[in-house]
Symmetry: C2
Subunit: 190 residues, 2 copies
DNA sequence: GTCTATAGCTCGATAGAC
DNA sequence: GTCTATCGAGCTATAGAC
């Protein structure tokens, strides 16, 4: 069962990840779902409230996906590569980038709660990566900076992939930038 | 001597780097420079034309700044660290991020020429970094991927720095995320 | 090259019927 | 919970005087 609120969030999330927070409107969601704008306002009274709901759901879902990587992967190396796969799969779905990467760029347009949630998302990711690096035997004095570097490289790789896939609607035959960058980092850090 | 066109570009570039391409308007430039919107249209008929001029100037200026790093730094390591300093200094100026990072996120809103120029900017940076890595003795089979990883980590570090500095207008006392990430990458790659 | 005035459109959001 | 109708503001852009 999918509620209308869920369908609105699905549409909005894709729009944010592809066009940016200031690059879509309620009219776009309205057209995609064939419901009117006031109906969307009924579920999410303001665009800011929609952004709050978006990032809350994104954090939950990302935590679940990361947990699956944790359960399936064996060893630190596989965990880090599997984690990078989450980012690569995002981009594979129509050239989307990380919702929080977009929210970081458009932070000035967003309410404080969303900015704080964006920061918290990254802090959460950094902590997880640092834990995996510690598991791999990296000294505790280095895991924090290394985790931040890994996270930065993944977010940045999405930007490079986006920029590269753009001239026209070209896509597909290109090398996987995200997985390549992740592999370089894993090899260099471990 | 500073022409009106230059002052418009200065204002617009800062606005894009702080708010995103869809997060500012001609009215913002008008207010900042105390000239009217039609005057801006006289110099840059459309917002798309303004974006074209912005990225053209950005590429030129970035090439000049990079050349200064090339002239001043001794050895590959210093060159890479000095290059990262260009990104760190950008963020130090009011939390700006790379213009091309913003344009990568907002690519869907931009004309094809600007998207291609954004891609070309990244290709240019990757080539330069790859050359420095080769100079440091890295085998040619690895320099391309390593350069892309370094570039991705710098662009991503700007996003993390932006997200982190955001809860309220907090700033200043924070650690330099960009330089930290760059140092981690340089140590790991060389 | 800068201005006043305004067109034409889209935006986020609201009122109120069903 | 969804709709029709609409508001007021902001947007990019243009016409035309100076």
């Amino acid at each position: 069962m999918t509620t209308t609120a869920d369908r609105i969030l699905d549409s909005a999330q894709t729009l944010v990840q592809v066009r940016g927070y200031n690059g879509f409107s309620y009219a776009d969601i309205s057209a995609e779902l064939s419901i009117t704008k006031p109906s969307i306002h009924h579920h999410f009274p303001t665009k800011a409230a929609l952004a709050e709901a978006l990032i809350a759901r994104y954090r939950e879902r990302f935590a679940v996906a990361r947990k699956e990587v944790d359960d399936d992967a064996v060893g630190a190396r596989q965990r880090l590569v599997g984690y990078a796969g989450l980012y690569a799969e995002t981009f594979a779905q129509g050239g989307r980038i990380c919702l929080c990467g977009v929210f970081a760029v458009d932070a000035e347009s967003l309410p404080v709660q969303v900015r704080q949630a964006t920061d918290a998302f990254f802090a959460d990711q950094r902590q997880w990566v640092a834990g995996v690096l510690a598991e791999a035997g990296m000294p505790a004095t280095r895991t924090g900076a290394a985790a931040e570097a890994y996270l930065a490289s993944l977010e940045g790789a999405l930007l490079l992939a986006r920029a590269h896939g753009q001239p026209d609607g070209a896509a597909g035959q290109d090398r996987d930038v995200v997985r390549s960058v992740a592999a370089t980092l894993v090899d260099a850090l471990l």
